[in-house]
């Protein structure tokens, strides 16, 4: 600190004020320095920050916190916008963790939907049985985690209706899915019971084609694409966090709007 020479009354008073304010200064200065150091560190290390496991752990912890924040923000009655048929994106893009030439062909006649966990009636379902249930259709926007979006038309059984039919515990925390393409994911019960969450059996009025998830995909306009599992073989209801294919690699688990 430089010592100022008080030449005038005003300068003297300024110095006195200065001196009085200096008492809490070390702590404040220390805090500021640490803040600046943190900023400089972030600027200098850039991408290599993400290699550090402590940073990874902190980011994962933040992602879990964001799951809770999003669960809290989620209004089960708030509907995603719907669109006229004329706005459907054609062709609707294919997307999976594998290429389009690797799409799984599932035998619809042999296929059974298996149920497990906190479900009262666990008998497997055939495709014909699912088609005999109440059907609804929607034209909604599919938003991919990559940022792009496309509008599509899906039809099928309202999932809340199905969960009631099989006696799924509505107070359970998670609904998990295992798929014929070895994909797996899980969602929160509030989204599972959202009025626009449907077990899609059709796309654009036709039987769901293999590339869109034959025989059944879960369609949720309130979730990002990776939360909408295709070729579903098994559904389970649980209170134990089931994770997911992408979620286990770092995509946010709630993953929805």
């Amino acid at each position: 600190m430089k010592i100022k020479t008080p030449l005038t009354d005003a300068a003297g008073q300024a110095m006195l004020a200065d001196a009085l304010c200096r008492v809490p200064d070390p702590a404040r200065r220390g805090f500021l320095q640490r803040t600046v150091t943190l900023g400089a560190l972030a600027l200098l290390t850039g991408c290599s920050l993400s290699d550090d496991s402590a940073v990874d752990q902190a980011l994962t912890a933040m992602s879990r916190l964001n799951d809770r924040a999003q669960g809290w923000l989620f209004d089960p009655a708030r509907l995603a916008p719907t669109y006229p048929d004329s706005m459907i994106t054609r062709p609707f893009p294919f997307n999976a963790y594998y290429g389009e030439d690797e799409v799984r062909e599932v035998d619809g006649a042999a296929w059974r939907l298996e149920l497990s966990g906190l479900v009262a009636r666990r008998a497997p379902w055939t495709l014909a049985q699912l088609r005999a249930l109440r059907q609804e259709s929607q034209v909604t926007r599919h938003i991919c985690v990559e940022g792009w979006s496309a509008i599509g038309k899906w039809g099928g059984v309202p999932f809340a209706h199905f969960l009631d039919l099989v006696g799924a515990d509505r107070h359970a925390r998670y609904v998990g899915f295992r798929c014929a393409d070895d994909y797996f994911t899980s969602i929160d019960m509030a989204t599972a019971r959202h009025p626009q969450t449907i077990m899609a059996l059709t796309y654009d009025g036709q039987i769901l084609p293999p590339r869109y998830g034959f025989p059944m995909k879960l369609r949720m306009p309130t979730k990002l694409g990776y939360k909408n599992p295709k070729h579903i073989q098994a559904i389970f209801v649980t209170n134990t966090y089931p994770g997911g294919y992408w979620e286990n690699q770092g995509y946010n688990w709630f993953g929805g709007s």
Binding site: A14, D18, M62, V145, G147, W148, G250
Partner: protein, 196 residues
């Protein structure tokens, strides 16, 4: 406040936290943009943060809390201390054009760093509003179903994506000019570091 103080501690702290948050948000946001670019260019991967899309999203959705919480403290303190009207108002188009002309000819005096000229006022007000725009368009992208009013206001999800990007570009434009000005008048950096 000390007679010699230009920037109060809260201002310096929020300024530097904001600088860190903006760098983290921009660098991770570029990586997210690269996953599905809507214009015919991508951002060089070396300038991005996160290593891959999932990592970039984790950074983006962690740093957003820093940006918003710090921004709220900054605005609240500006209002509470009366700094907002004192430092940034009034702004008149005439004064702005006059000061801009002087600035471009290199004749704008920085005699008193406590006093902002009209160009500075407009620039700082602009960047405050721009960050608010970034947060609001970001909310539409993150929670398009939960904020229907915002979604409609910004013309739907796809337009909000582009507005979010443009607001980022505008913020970087501000940062570029800001850094040039700091280079031209280096004692403003000292003032932002130690307060005087």
């Amino acid at each position: 406040m000390r007679a010699s103080t230009i920037h109060a501690p809260w201002l310096r702290i929020t300024h530097w936290i904001n600088a860190v948050a903006v760098v983290l948000m921009a660098a991770s946001g570029w990586r997210i943009y690269n996953a599905a670019p809507f214009w015919p260019f991508t951002i060089p991967a070396g300038a991005t943060l996160g290593g891959w899309l999932g990592g970039a999203l984790q950074w983006h959705f962690a740093a957003m809390w820093l940006l918003v919480a710090n921004g709220v403290v900054y605005l609240a303190m500006n209002v509470r201390t009366g700094r907002l009207p004192r430092q940034f108002l009034p702004v008149s188009p005439r004064q702005f054009l006059h000061d801009l002309g002087c600035a471009l000819r290199g004749r704008l005096a920085h005699a008193d760093p406590r006093h902002y000229n009209a160009v500075q006022r407009v620039a700082y007000l602009f960047v405050m509003l721009d960050i608010v725009l970034l947060v609001l368009t970001g909310l539409v992208l993150w929670k398009s179903v939960q904020f229907p009013l915002l979604r409609t206001l910004f013309g739907g999800y796809e337009l909000a994506r582009r507005l979010h990007f443009l607001a980022m570009a505008a913020l970087l434009g501000f940062v570029a000019i800001h850094l040039v000005m700091v280079a031209l008048v280096p004692r403003t950096l000292l003032a932002m570091l130690r307060g005087r």
